[in-house]
Point group: D2
Chain length 291, copies 4
């Protein structure tokens, strides 16, 4: 069953990207007009108006959108094919289905569940999967199913991943790693088939790897940060969606840094998730365009 967000009824989001060229915007906006739709918002970016890449996010309102969807898609195909553009049309009233993978830390997990309950995130949450059980009761209090898939090492590692893939398959539109402390294999990333968003407990590209707050303390930094990015097979190196920092001093202990860092992490992750859920993030190689 899909949940419909009423304020977004009959709203569609169109993402277009490809080689920039004259007439593109006029072609797209004319298409919207002749399909009896009204533009609600339009953002675009060109990496270089002469020969660069073009990115556009256009939200429009079309009464009786569901019925008009096939015609819109056909028109987009026909109109944009000559330009060699990729496009994606989504019904904004259909929330994306988000799975959360977590470990023992609860700060990112609970913040997402709470924002969802509060109506801040246009998503459904069909499941939380954790390799620990400590958050099970909290998760279920929010009315969200909780699945425990213990982590295993060596040959059994792939067994855990297979079980997770089976739970996700067909049920979710994207996955959020809310401080999930396992390194997912390249196989997993390739097979999962949906975007995976991670929150990195550091200000990338700094302090990659384990114990970043201890390393930050040892290095004597005056700011700590967090980075949310799409996961690629290249660990900690996917396209960055959002980053932020907090000021610290010599008097902060490694534990203080971790506590301050947790606040930054949940804030950064919740923004990245919101923007992804609203189709505001377009991937371009190892970058993102965030509208």
């Amino acid at each position: 069953m899909t949940v419909h967000t009423d304020a977004l009824r009959d709203h569609a989001c169109l993402i277009v990207h490809g080689p920039d060229q004259p007439g593109l915007v006029a072609a797209v906006t004319a298409l919207v007009t002749r399909n009896n739709a009204n533009i609600v918002s339009l953002d675009q970016y060109s990496s270089d108006p002469a020969g660069g890449q073009f990115f556009q996010r256009l939200v429009f309102h079309r009464p009786d959108l569901a019925a008009a969807f096939p015609d819109l898609e056909a028109d987009l195909d026909q109109t944009l094919a000559p330009y060699g553009m990729q496009w994606r049309l989504t019904d904004q009233s259909v929330p994306k289905r988000m799975a959360i993978l977590a470990s023992t830390s609860d700060h990112c997990l609970l913040d997402l569940l709470w924002r969802h309950r509060r109506g801040e995130l246009p998503v459904t949450i069909p499941m939380v999967i954790s390799n620990h059980t400590n958050t099970a009761e909290d998760v279920r209090t929010f009315g969200v199913p909780f699945f425990h898939v213990p982590s295993q090492s060596g040959a059994d590692k792939s067994a855990s991943e297979t079980e997770i893939l089976k739970l996700l398959a067909g049920n979710v539109d994207f996955v959020v790693l809310a401080r999930y402390m396992q390194i997912l294999s390249a196989d997993f990333i390739e097979q999962v088939g949906v975007p995976v968003i991670n929150i990195h407990h550091s200000f990338l590209p700094a302090f990659i790897g384990a114990a970043p707050y201890r390393k930050a303390k040892e290095r004597g930094v005056k700011l700590i940060g967090a980075t949310s990015h799409y996961v690629t097979t290249d660990l900690d190196e996917g396209p960055i969606i959002e980053q932020d920092v907090a000021r610290v001093t010599h008097a902060d202990t490694a534990a203080d840094l971790q506590r301050r860092g947790a606040d930054v992490e949940r804030a950064v992750l919740s923004r990245a998730v919101l923007w992804h859920a609203q189709d505001r993030v377009i991937r371009d190689g190892n970058h993102t365009i965030v509208f």
Copy 2:
């Protein structure tokens, strides 16, 4: 003599605003295309897609722009009249002429002059007018004419303002009050005929009036700020362009707050000036849209 900014040669900026209605974006973008221009960037905002106000900033590249200008203007008139829209077309390679009014403080004044010399601000600076002489030598070192117009009170106040108006008339496209410590009369604002940008030494709407840093100290605030806004006849109440803050503590003296505040002031003012010079700011009653 106008200075041409080479990177912006043959670039025009079109500002459109008025009642939102279907087909508007398609009409504008089609116009750009049929006039052999290529869209470089496009930002738009609608206060409400159903019956709200529509604002658009569109930058396009048109080879041989100067020759095409009259045709573009005629086409805009004809195309946008049926929609009841206001529009403004500017040649981006022609920098705006900016006058600076200052008093004894030099932090905002010198920062603008330095950014201009560095090529950060697409403006020319035909004059600095001050009611004091202490900054004359610095200003002239930057190759900018300096005029001293002493302030007077009572009946003679209008004499000072008349002299300033005479210096500005026909010579400038906008005026910046870089900590100009005189209250301009409503008459002046009405007669100057160009936008006037002020930097308010406080985080509006707080601590309006004199000695804001002393008041901030007395109130024990933990943040101080600055606000840049367009000047209207309603003192300290014009449309806000930009604001920012800095963190302070109980240990900061009123003099410390003033020093920290000066840093925020020059940063906020330079951003407001840049955005205005780039036609990024659209006024809408007592608000601004900043693209």
Copy 3:
């Protein structure tokens, strides 16, 4: 039953304030040394070394603190009386008892309960009192008692306040208004007998009163903020403990501002509560010293 925080076992916090004068710091630190205690941290501030007010926060470790407490107090009395100083000695291992008053909004309330469970706040929470029932289940999930005291107007208003005072009396060391949407009477503030901390949904002194986010939207501000302060009988005018802001744009609706504002509110309130619980905040008229 008191909860003891193990890491703070045998740690005491000494607050001293009064007229600054030579020899004061030496007198206090000598006292600590002769009582076989070791200074863990020391912060001090003088509003003016010549004739100003002196404020000091000193944390020391004294093995077998509980047994030594009476001697320490007697020594402090004898040592500081000649200087005319006020002082306060607290056992850091005894958490303060914090009551939370709330209404329908849950963002500040749940953030405090979650931080407490996580071990970030050195307090106990003997009760949450609300004039609504919607958060009762969430509160009890955290193992915290929930009391419903409906608000009443006119003559019955004092009946509600009397009921709240009865619940609090003798049971709490401070009260937090976590978006409690009732104006407490001057009588209540005087009778409650413990500090009351409020979170103001605005960047004081701006937009005092109702619907601050609507007012901020109308004014077109580029930053919104929140302020946590001690409550005095002068509404919205007590000593400020902490403030912060978030950046917003013309595209944010009043609802967006409210959502962004909620994030700032809970962050600011949690810092103010933490610092109060750690005896880091000293009131000085309408200011605070925050060490």
Copy 4:
């Protein structure tokens, strides 16, 4: 000739560090008292009250300080020797002598000269040394001597460094690298004999090396930063004094990042220089304590 800062007449700053141990603070403050001085401010930090390192910055007022200096030093020697502490006593009214090394970029250089003229930095500036001549006139406008020492490579590199060392020798108390684009040899760092402060055009430890803004653009970061640190023989790895960041988006070009970065660089460097000049920074291995 030394310049005396009047507000700091008869003020001394005492820095003490070494192994933490009971009675230390009492011993130091008693010393101050018996030398007829009054404590103006006192900051301290212990990395671990049980067996850690202790750091203290104490500012005191002593009438007729110059005459009392020898007695104070003798008393400090006698008092602190048993504790095995290092200490440093400076007369706050004697500004430190700061040399600036620069290349073609003027943003950090001019900001320091301007802040100095404005009275914000308690230093004298006996010289600016640059490997280019473009800033000579600006520097001399501020009344500061300018020396041109061209950079050379290979065997002649040491000739340039030798010339710089000769200019500095005996004339300065610290050196600031205000975007000086030459890598100083380990020999130079060892021979210069005074602290050297650098501004790194990036948020350490990220993007070490050349062209950091291009690398930041390629990586698609959402924040850029700058770091000021003491220079050690380990390039870009000295103790960090201050850091800050600015928010950027996909739409910012590498040139935009550079311009935004320049603003952060000059702000961060000016804070680091101010704090060093005020003896607020204590080095501890690869960290700093900043009071």
